[in-house]
Amino acid sequence: MKNTILLGLSLTLSAMVATAQEVAYEEYNLDNGLHVILHQDETAPVVTTSVMYHVGGKDRTEGRTGFAHFFEHLLFEGTENIERGDWFKLVSSNGGKNNANTSQDRTYYYEVFPSNNLELGLWMESERLMHPIIDQVGIDTQNEVVKEEKRLRYDNSPYGQLLFTVAENLFEKHPYKDPNIGYMKDLDAATLEDVVAYNKKYYVPNNAVLVVAGDIDISETKKMVEDYFGPIPKGADVVRNYPKETPITTEINAKAYDTNIQIPASIIAYRTPGFTERDAYVLDMISAYLSDGKSSKLYKKMVDDQKQALQVGAYNIAQEDYGMYLVFTLPVGETPLSTLNTEIEEEIAKVRDSLISEKDYQKLQNKFESRFVNANSSVEGIAGSLATYYLLYGDTELINKEIDIYRSVTREEMQKVAKKYLNPNQRVVIDYLPGEGNEQ
């Protein structure tokens, strides 16, 4: 057994250089500032057309939260040439599928069609950008839909408020303090004028990237892109100037309540740097080390061996301006939350005070390589990655090179980063308890 692992180790080292897979792409700008990325893959006659807009939950003014997500709904309502209610029918009756999602940092829309419907996909996305219908009827309809979504996904869902609680305790000034879906009173207060102004500000070609990926002819596609997106006028430059947070230097304690749960949870959270920074990558590795897989440190100790926790997970929530790093546990039986916190801190302290073992380091490298390989396994996934790397990381080439960053992270660096960000005086400790809260 020992021998086999050693053999595996040396295999990994020699194979490391050989496995660089290459996603080929071409990128350019239209005159109106729209960035275009084309990726050709002839495996199957399928094409993904997608647009990512650099607008997310954080792009709002006080009292108008949740606008970006609301827009994601609104922009399926129809355009000057696509009638209200026809969007989904157009997709399914042409053999396609589509969806959209919004984060605090960006909004992403996409369709996947058989490749002979490439033009249809481009038409639909250009219609959405060029002249969506924004009227009171759509606003009222989607207001209801968003409220229903909020009830379903957060209010009635066990641990649904957990991330909101973490965010409001980690951030004081930055818009990340508020939920991405927004406060319903803000949506209710939104006027048609507000909504139109938001559209004009953020939904402009110079704030977006178009990705066309799949079985395409590059020059024909370029022409179609110019035809459909070229005539859309450029907008004003988008300026983001969000307040900076002052560092947390004393532990923050908070309690939160959730009527949908029976088992309390404990959360330890830290504020971390934005995702383009190297330290964010290192933190990714630390969270995998602590809780990814049955042989990870926290899982093995707290769930398997000592049976104190039903579940334990460390998550590095990567965001553009600041990240949130959190460890989440559910106690077994009567284990007090404070005991869980002590156990967790003990493991985090080990990462700060000593180097992780060579074997664990190698396991991490295997895991990240496996993740990297599987992340680019579908054209749909590649389209999303290309858009993200360009728009948010400012470097499309990361799609091929990001793995090198993880590979270059050393055990010493993991220790250094843990020392820099994961100290007890920098953390927020939340008791997330069953029952009625006094807030909200």
């Binding site: 006659p45 399914s92 053999g95 249809l120 481009l122």
Partner: protein
């Protein structure tokens, strides 16, 4: 010369400007894309294992699937033996202990899963040799041990227990058993009894009989070389001893003789599960396979199907209604149309399902429906091609289903050639309303009366009754059975009060204290409750020493403490707590004209009087003993109606009064069994308890 260039350039520009696209219309689709389907490389081993390899070097990863295509196996009185075999496989091997096995798989960043006659693993391709070796070792030399067997058996029994009152699970079991009979592999299901009969030896025997290479396929897809795969597979799978599974016959099922409703009473059901089903003899190689798929898709495939549009979008009876059409080379499979609906609309939903089933046969589908459905199929087919697994799956189908070699190469062509007429012919052949069995699983007292009056094509649809083991039974008690002659609400209440000790004894009670505990997901809940005859009340629910919820009421005002947060009771809460505070509320129900008799129902096998105590509250009193056996309360939880049911069992005497010592509460998906530790009468309570 220069001039010519300029002219050319200008005209080119003009062309661009004037040949503007017309964005007011949806662009037309280009010519249908060409499909390029490769064939996998194959080789056979001497022991019978057939190997298919799809080389795909796009990503440095590999997946390996082992599939044993045996005929269905009848497990009989040991139903459950195959699942247990599946869960005991992949836990190491004769040479590698379980923990080491898991650790190594984890280290490689890989995954391995086993079924009773299958296995699957995926890994980075550089670990292909080792992961293949581990998988082969675990498959060929499994290490079945008693300790693991007991653990897996317990898990399975716990699951069965949790499904006892699960309407969906019961519906699934019974619908299968009625369609195929329980003497057929597709009709039998595991029960506590059958699982308890299974021994470790049975698992070993099952493995020895069926985990054999004779009908086995190994499918390797990914960044590997055929030559290397062949060499390694031959090395690792040669020890797999040749063998052929026993071939055992089983009964051949037949359709219902006429349209009928088969009803299963599940008294706790708040929704009815409806399955309209008939048997179909459909194989993939049949010429009308594709038209049959399209007919089913138009009827009940997803959010654009007729069932969905009718029962959800139009009527709002359900969150979704769908249909499915099976195919099977070994014998009959099923056509099924299903919906989960609210109790109140169960009969209407059955009518709508029958109407849709009838309509798809009677009238041709519209051209638009057919075209849109073809587009859906085309899209799905094309999108699936991106995944190299698809190539392997298709090749496997061709092999196992005895299909023509070009079955998938001509798939789109054949889909496109299907006509409206073909669809109707297929619908007529495979969807058989005149032999449909409509299996309804639900609450008899609320849905049965209307179900008995359903007309289909002018004839009343007969209802037959079954229990949850799919055995025929007499009609269950339902609806408002007449109150026996000369019995009134007060008689029921008096009989209850008499049964627990008599009014006289009860009036001696000034206070009582009850302590009880329940187990919840591994946590112990402690309940303490105090009540006084003058309406004071205290209830404390704690996990260990931590109070989770405490309610205190002094007869006039009260408060609630939740997780350390104290809140005074509002007006509505006070009204509610006042009702709770009375030790024996039945005393005050006597001569209350608002309390209504609602019929006789069977609760846990006992006939009981049902009294409606208020808008929200209903209680059931055992006809024989007079004791209260159940109470249900409707409550509003976050905007959704929820029923809380408390069953009272195990009555024991304390100071001459009968108290239930087991209180089982079910709220939505949550279930608690409170076991009473102690009840004290007229002691242990003081006024300070209610401050």
């Amino acid at each position: 010369m220069k001039k010519i260039y300029t002219t050319l350039f200008v005209s080119f520009l003009m062309l661009n400007t004037f040949a503007q696209i017309d964005r007011s219309k949806k662009p037309e689709a280009g010519p249908a894309p060409e499909i390029n389907l490769e064939d996998p490389q194959t080789f056979d081993m001497k022991n019978g294992l057939k190997v298919l390899v799809v080389e795909n070097h796009k990503l440095p990863r590999v997946s390996i699937q082992l599939l044993i295509d045996n005929a269905p196996v009848l497990e009989g009185d040991k139903a459950g033996v195959s699942s247990l075999t599946g869960s005991l496989l992949g836990q190491g091997s004769k040479t590698i202990p379980k923990d080491e096995f898991n650790e190594e798989v984890d280290f490689l960043g890989a995954r391995i899963n086993f079924g009773s006659q299958s296995a699957y693993t995926s890994a980075l391709s550089k670990y292909f040799p080792r992961i293949l070796e581990l998988m082969a070792d675990a498959a060929i030399h499994p290490n079945f041990i008693q300790e693991d067997f007991e653990k897996e058996k317990q898990k399975m029994l716990t699951n069965l227990k949790s499904e006892e009152k699960d309407v969906k699970a019961i519906a699934g079991n019974v619908a299968g058993a009625l369609a195929y009979t329980k003497a057929h592999p597709y009709g039998e299901f595991s029960t506590e009894e059958s699982v308890n009969k299974v021994t470790l030896e049975d698992v070993e025997k099952f493995y020895a009989n069926y985990f054999l290479p004779a009908n086995a396929y190994l499918v390797v897809v990914g960044d590997v070389k055929f030559k290397e795969v062949k060499k390694l597979v031959q090395e690792y799978f040669t020890p797999w001893t040749k063998g052929t599974p026993p071939s055992l016959g089983f009964t051949s099922p037949s359709d219902a003789l006429y349209t009928q409703i088969n009803f299963i009473d599940v008294p706790n059901a708040v929704q009815s599960e409806i399955t309209a089903e008939n048997l179909v003899a459909l194989k993939m190689k049949d010429p009308d396979y594709l038209p049959a798929l399209l007919a089913n898709e138009i009827l009940g495939g997803g959010g654009e199907g007729r069932l969905f549009l009718n029962l959800r979008e139009d009527k709002g009876y359900t969150y979704g209604s769908y249909s499915g059409l099976g195919n099977d080379k070994y014998g009959p499979s099923r056509f099924r149309a299903v919906a989960s609906v609210r109790n109140a609309v169960t009969d209407s939903s059955v009518v709508e399902l029958l109407n849709e089933i009838e309509l798809i046969r009677k009238s041709p589908v519209s051209k638009e429906e057919l075209e849109n459905t073809k587009a859906k199929y085309t899209g799905r087919f094309v999108m699936a091609l991106e995944d190299p697994q698809t190539i392997a799956e298709y090749a496997l189908d061709i092999e196992t289903e005895d299909l023509p070699k070009d079955f998938y190469k001509t798939y789109l062509e054949r889909i496109n050639a299907v006509t409206v007429d073909d669809v109707q012919k297929a619908a007529k052949k495979y969807i058989k309303p005149e032999k449909t069995r409509i299996v309804v699983t639900g609450k008899a007292s609320e849905v049965l009366p209307n179900l008995e009056n359903i007309l289909f094509n002018g004839k009343k649809v007969p209802v037959k009754y079954f229990d949850k083991n799919a055995e025929p039974i007499e009609k269950p008690e339902s609806g408002v059975a007449a109150m026996p002659e000369g019995v009134g609400v007060d008689d029921v209440l008096n009989k209850y009060l008499e049964a627990i000790g008599g009014q006289e004894k009860l009036s001696d009670i000034e206070s009582y204290v009850m302590t009880a505990e329940a187990e919840m997901q591994g946590m112990k809940l402690n309940l303490e409750m105090k009540k006084t005859a003058d309406g004071k009340f205290m209830q404390d629910v704690a996990v260990g020493d931590n109070s989770m919820n405490k309610q205190v009421f002094d007869g006039k005002k009260g408060y609630v403490v939740m997780q350390g947060q104290r809140k005074d009771m509002g007006e509505e809460e006070i009204i509610k707590v006042k009702e709770e505070a009375i030790p024996f509320p039945e005393l005050s129900y006597l001569s209350d004209a608002t309390i209504k008799f609602e019929g006789i129902e069977t609760i846990d096998g006992k006939k009981a009087y049902k009294l409606k105590l208020s808008e929200e509250k209903t209680a059931y009193y055992d006809m024989e003993t007079g004791l209260k056996i159940q109470e249900t309360t409707m409550a509003d939880m976050g905007g959704q109606p929820m029923t809380s049911t408390i069953n009272y069992q195990d009555y024991q005497e304390v100071s001459g009064i009968q108290f239930p010592f087991t209180l089982s509460q079910t709220v939505g998906p949550q279930h608690f069994d409170f076991k009473v530790n102690e009840i004290k009468i007229n002691e242990g309570v003081s006024d300070s308890d209610f401050e």
